[in-house]
């Protein structure tokens, strides 16, 4: 599979919960031996460094910002999706990683 090397970013409003989730995704990727980099950030910063990522995931509590994020992401050809609500609540890194892999296809 050509898709096991990519960078993803998880966005929330201040970067507090997203960094925790990103860590979990990172661990999940390492367990599977994938070369994935999981980053976290606020939606505000995303505009500046969107070009660094291949996939962007938005946490459910900032879904009202999806339009804005999508606009930035489209300029860099990055797919954007909301993190699955249950996976977010349980900080399920595996599930979020699966979601990102699906988006990469």
């Amino acid at each position: 599979m050509a898709n096991d090397k990519f960078k993803l970013v998880i966005l929330c409003s201040w970067g507090a919960t997203s960094s925790q989730l990103a860590q979990k995704v990172q661990q999940a990727a390492e367990k599977r031996g994938m070369d994935v980099e999981a980053h976290a950030g606020g939606t505000g910063e995303f505009k500046k460094d969107a070009d660094k990522y291949d996939v962007a995931l938005l946490e459910p509590q900032v879904r009202h910002l999806k339009k804005e994020v999508t606009k930035v992401a489209e300029a860099h050809n990055i797919p954007v999706e909301l993190v699955d609500q249950r996976a977010f609540a349980l900080m399920d890194g595996d599930k979020v990683l699966d979601q990102a892999i699906k988006m990469m296809k």
């Binding site: 929330c12 409003s13 507090a16 919960t17 925790q20 505000g44 505009k47 500046k48 946490e59 459910p60 509590q61 900032v62 879904r63 009202h64 910002l65 999806k66 339009k67 804005e68 609500q85 249950r86 977010f88 609540a89 349980l90 900080m91």
Partner: protein
């Protein structure tokens, strides 16, 4: 599902517009990113110079005696940091807005800051003006002008550059040279314009622009400091959360300047040894109401650990540690509280009760005023202690509030837990038969 679609169409759209408003975002960033380190640093010196003598401890009294003769010197860092809060914010607004408009952010920040600086002084012989008298306008009292001017100057700069009113250098000129020349004409037009307006205001009314605007805004600041304003803010935050939108994020982007003005006024009053009357500040919500996160869910997080249903127990294990640091988004979505008619009741009711209790405690002076804005992740008890500049009572009030919220959550939690256990049993039974 229908309800969710309706919310999506009728609520997300307009709310998204508020939250995505570039001006509001720039203002919030200016406070949260630029001003916060400045005022936290200053607040430390404010506390050092004003020990919490109400504790009546020998060690505190010794400290009070030691700082008394050098109090003005100890207050120097406080005076200068809080005293340039609006100046910092003016840079922050210009900078943050320019980033969103793809402009030279540093130049926009400097222009915004200089423009604001220019308005704070009376337009007379500047050598006759004592700097100390100006500080209050460069600080808390100048916030509104700092914000308004930051937006105006950045927009003006953007307009001039877009219209080509700049020196454009031929290709091949080094970027830093280009930068100077691109900024110089907007600076030369905008700064003198601000000066002329300041002069006109000073010549006609004998006041500076920050003074004039403060007079204009002071009824609004006073209104924002009332119980009804606090109640309205907390209700809006929680109702937004209840449908899954970051309520604090949306509400704070609108009212941050008011919270900050109240906070700065409190700090100033304390530094002068006067009584402070600001109640509705950012810590009033983040520290004293959102105990364990929005909706005061700390107690609920503990209950989850002892839940009978597997789902709630699982969520409890994930959320207990973040909850101690007031991070509860996973809890809100995991329980879930979002769109859960049963749990929305304590989620709204608990904080409303807490806001009411706290407002009374602050208004009657039982609790000392908030003078520090701790980061929102400071745990319960410590948060209240720090925010009030060292009041144990404030920490204890926080703990009592956690208990009150927990008591309000308990019956709803119990009922919901039972519902989930039934569902889980049913699902397990179906699996067995199939």
């Amino acid at each position: 599902m229908k309800l969710e679609q309706w919310l999506e169409d009728h609520l997300m759209e307009p709310l998204g517009k508020i939250a995505q408003n570039t001006y509001l975002q720039a203002i919030r960033d200016a406070f949260v990113i630029f001003a916060l380190p400045v005022i936290i640093t200053g607040a430390i010196f404010l506390i050092i110079a004003n020990p919490p003598t109400s504790l009546n401890w020998g060690i505190i009294d010794a400290w009070a005696n030691a700082v008394e003769p050098i109090q003005p010197q100890l207050l120097f860092p406080y005076n200068l940091t809080f005293g340039v809060m609006a100046l910092t914010v003016s840079f922050g607004v210009g900078y943050s807005l320019a980033i969103r408009k793809d402009m030279d952010a540093v130049m926009a920040g400097i222009l915004s800051m200089l423009a604001f600086f220019m308005t704070a002084f009376p337009v007379t012989d500047i050598e006759q003006v004592p700097f100390g008298e100006i500080l209050q306008y460069l600080g808390g009292q100048g916030l509104f002008v700092a914000i308004i001017l930051g937006i105006l100057t950045t927009e003006a700069m953007n307009f001039l550059i877009k219209k080509g009113v700049t020196f454009e250098m031929p290709a091949g000129v080094p970027p830093y040279v280009m930068r100077t020349f691109r900024a110089v004409i907007p600076f030369m037009i905008i700064l003198p314009l601000v000066w002329i307006v300041s002069w006109i205001v000073w010549a006609n009314f004998g006041i500076t622009i920050p003074q004039a605007v403060l007079d204009l805004f002071s009824p609004l600041v006073a209104a924002s400091n009332s119980y009804w304003a606090a109640l309205g803010m907390i209700l809006l935050m929680l109702v937004l959360w209840a449908i899954g939108i970051h309520g604090m994020n949306v509400v704070s982007s609108v009212v941050y300047p008011f919270w900050m003005t109240n906070l700065a006024e409190n700090a100033e009053a304390v530094s002068r040894g006067e009584e402070a009357g600001g109640i509705v500040t950012e810590p009033f919500f983040h520290m004293f109401t959102h105990l364990g996160g929005s909706g005061a869910t700390l107690g609920l997080a503990v209950f989850l650990l002892f839940a009978a249903s597997t789902q709630l127990k699982q969520v409890g294990k994930t959320v207990i540690i973040p909850s101690l640091f007031n991070i509860n988004e996973p809890l809100i979505f995991g329980v879930p509280i979002v769109l859960n008619p049963l749990l929305i009741i304590p989620f709204v009711l608990g904080p409303v009760v807490i806001v009411t209790i706290n407002y009374i405690l602050f208004a009657t002076g039982i609790l000392p005023p908030v003078i520090v804005q701790p980061p929102f992740t400071v745990p319960v008890f410590f948060g209240g202690f720090i925010a009030t500049g060292g009041s144990w009572l404030a920490g204890i009030v926080q703990l009592v509030n956690v208990a009150i919220a927990a008591a309000i959550y308990y019956p709803f939690f119990k009922k919901y837990d039972r519902q989930l256990v039934e569902e889980e049993n049913k699902a397990a039974a179906e699996e067995k038969t199939s």
